[in-house]
Amino acid sequence: MRTHKEVDVVIIGMGWTGGIIAKELAQAGLHVVGLERGGSHTTQEDFAVPWIRDELRYSVRNELMQDLTRTTVTVRNNVNERALPMRKLGSFLPGEGVGGSGIHWGGLSLRWTDQEFKLKSMTEQRYGKAQPSDGLLIQDWGISYDELEPYYEKFEYMAGVSGVAHNVGQRRAVGAGPAGGNPFEAARRRGYPLPALDTGLAGELFNAAASSLGYHPYVTPMARASQAYVNPDGVAFGECQYCGFCGGYGCEVNAKGSPHHTMIPLAQREANFELRTHAWVSKITQDAGSKRATGVEYTNLASGQTHFQPAAVVVLASYALGNVHLMLLSGIDTPYDPVSGNGVVGRNYAYQAGTGVALFFENQLFNPYMNGGLTSLDDFNANADFDRSQIGAIGGSVLYAGASQGLPIGARALPQGSSLWGSAWKQQTTQWFPRTMTIAAHSSTMANRWNYLDLDPTYRDALGQPLLRMTFDYSENERKLTRHSAGILNQIAAQLNPTHRTQAKAAQSWSVEHYQSTHNTGGTIMGADPHTSVVNKYGQAWALDNLFIAGASVFPHDAAYPPTLLVSSLAYHTADAIKLRYARHQRGLV
């Protein structure tokens, strides 16, 4: 094993969170090494037109995603089943290489609020014991919206988020804000850096139908620059071309906010930052008394050689699942045991629930390859007046409407009873490809006792280490939430009065097949109590003062909103804690 010179900070993973922390700490003058298991990515070489506009290569064969021959997870729905490996990608698509999943994400950027951070206390305050929470592991996070608000703003300006703000400065009444804003959003100091994206015909139709039912649709804020833009770090963004090759692809004009053209090049400008690619970390090492992390061990995937990188601070930023896996492999803190309920690492794993409808219109042409922005609806999520006792569940659902998938291999939605091949199928596909829109609902998933992550007893990765085992299924709470949101989807769909439509249904059981979302959360959760959490609100591990964890593994539950704005803002928060406070005192920050 080759041992390197000790550095101030070693960061595991160079995606969104690792990139943010690398840039912030390198600019603060700390000596930082970033380790990334994948290769490098640059817009000029890797995402150039026309080659990036290749649906087969990127959407079907998932070229930018994790290579499963090296590592995967094993999956099962419950503890009575035998977990088997995820042999092909499907349900979620973690990225690999510089930029991580921040390259191919979709850019939806929504601010999580105290509704999530104070879930337990607010639910009890509002509903008392009336709300069923049997078997659910709900808890407050130990952080507040007000603490995070400046960091949300920082990310929105850095990543070029386009949207309409409703509550800038003062609290506005529902219905009083500018068109396109979310009347249920929390107060914010500044608006969005860029005007909203054009939501196209699908947005127009959805708006009219949802408004006529008394709901409050708004333009989904997205990190897709609606105009050419220069961010506060001086990084230039091109203007979004609505090209349709967005989620799953890198952006050739840097209109999508991604770490490979924002954070990481800025870190690389500093002489005290070093990026090492093809460096697969397999262990965080600790001192003899298990009081401090001493560094990390990694394998150079090009040579096979093993390395030890000592560091004063270790930052774990290897995506939610990678973070939990490395904690378990390194034997840090106590693994969670669902039978006794003891232990913390692997506890509170959650994964977004959802449902959707497709609408087929004889007389509307969406031209779905002109990829408009999305339109959302928060009446059943951020809306505090939404009475959850009606459905007997905790959490909420957010809706998104837009044209259907505009890429030909993936576009498969056809009205029920359509053919699968032959001339009739060709005719139906030709007719409906440009005339279909979809509405989806994403619902929160509450952690429960039986959903968790641990090490698999049988299957191994390419280094011979046990794979991460995922035991997960939706509980009654998610079934109730998705049954309710399916009802709302069907109601709005009926109001839109298409020629044909599918029916939304409640989520039943989780399957590893078919893409759902890359919103995996929990496993190294944040909290105020070391007995029920792994890190404090700064992402600092209770077990080792000089270990910080960034990513959605720190979420105690999964909300209806997508994770990235929050994980990135928490990464800024963690970087501040390291450079402003930890670097001075070198001990627990709470």
């Binding site: 817009t43 037109v49 026309p50 506009r53 290749d54 649906e55 087969l56 079907v60 064969r61 998932n62 499963l68 021959t69 999956v75 099962r76 089943e81 035998r82 088997l84 490996p85 042999r87 092909k88 990608l89 054009d198 196209g200 015909l201 105009q227 050419a228 230039a236 963004f237 091109g238 203007e239 071309q241 609505y242 090209c243 349709g244 090759f245 050739e252 004009v253 840097n254 509307q364 042409l365 031209n367 390859y369 002109m370 890429l407 030909p408 291999i409 576009a411 091949w421 001339s423 199928w425 060709k426 005719q427 596909t429 030709t430 490809f433 299957y459 059981s509 989780w510 590893v512 097949e513």
Partner: protein, 236 residues
């Protein structure tokens, strides 16, 4: 092809529009239509498999007013190349044992690469067709072929060699769709006929203005493939 399709505007990171003109686009498309078809060789498919995919391609994608036939579109060529590529050899599939049967929610659990699944599944399907319809696969009537495909799809066809027929069907179905709709660089979708059928414009899309201009209006342009704007021509 309209003039503004022959050029495309690429917004540079600084927001300056760069006009890229590709003189290659129009002539290349025209040559393809006029020139004699070029003979191509299979590098994975065995004789019986070649005949099988050729029949399948024309059955699933017949010639009609919307497009030429699956063979004219090059679907068998696409399938052959896909199966002999790294993807066909399972370059990103986790293939370590033990291999056990799982629940449907646990997804793909076979010990097979796509190319091996194709080989075993096709062998078993040819046998199954002979047993079930009393005819060689290539002599099946169109109704028999429809019936066979439905049996495979629903997992009702009991194939020898333990290949689950539904899994095998999913592979065939995906391959045919990809041969119809993937970029012509992969050997199918010849002359972009699959894209023409859908009015899919291809790789050069700058829709910032189009999304308003063509709202609820047909958008019909000559589709552009990767090779149209950056193809290798052998010319310096």
């Amino acid at each position: 092809m309209s003039v503004d399709r022959r050029t495309f505007i690429k917004a540079a990171p600084a927001g300056i529009a760069v006009l890229i003109t590709s003189s290659a686009v129009a002539p290349a498309a025209a040559d393809e239509q006029q020139g004699a078809p070029q003979a191509l060789a299979y590098t994975y498919l065995r004789p019986s498999e070649g005949a099988f995919v050729e029949r399948l391609a024309d059955h699933m994608v017949p010639a009609d007013a919307l497009s030429p036939s699956g063979n004219e579109l090059g679907i068998p060529v696409y399938i052959d190349r896909a199966l002999s590529s790294g993807w066909g050899k399972g370059e990103r599939v986790y293939l370590q044992g033990p291999f056990l049967e799982g629940t449907p929610n646990q997804g793909y659990q076979l010990a097979l690469t796509p190319a091996r699944l194709f080989r075993l599944g096709t062998e078993a399907t040819l046998q199954y067709a002979q047993q079930t319809y009393g005819k060689r696969f290539n002599q099946l009537a169109p109704e028999d072929l429809d019936d066979l495909l439905h049996r495979l799809k629903d997992g009702r066809a009991e194939l020898t060699s333990d290949v689950p027929s539904g899994e095998y069907f999913n592979l065939l179905y995906a391959l045919v769709r990809e041969g119809l709709f993937a970029d012509p660089a992969y050997g199918g979708n010849r002359n972009k006929a699959g894209w023409r059928m859908l009015d899919f414009p291809g790789v050069i899309e700058s829709n910032k203005r189009n999304i308003a201009r063509y709202r609820n209006r047909p958008y019909r342009v000559e589709p552009i493939s990767i090779a149209d704007v950056s193809g290798w021509t052998g010319q310096p």
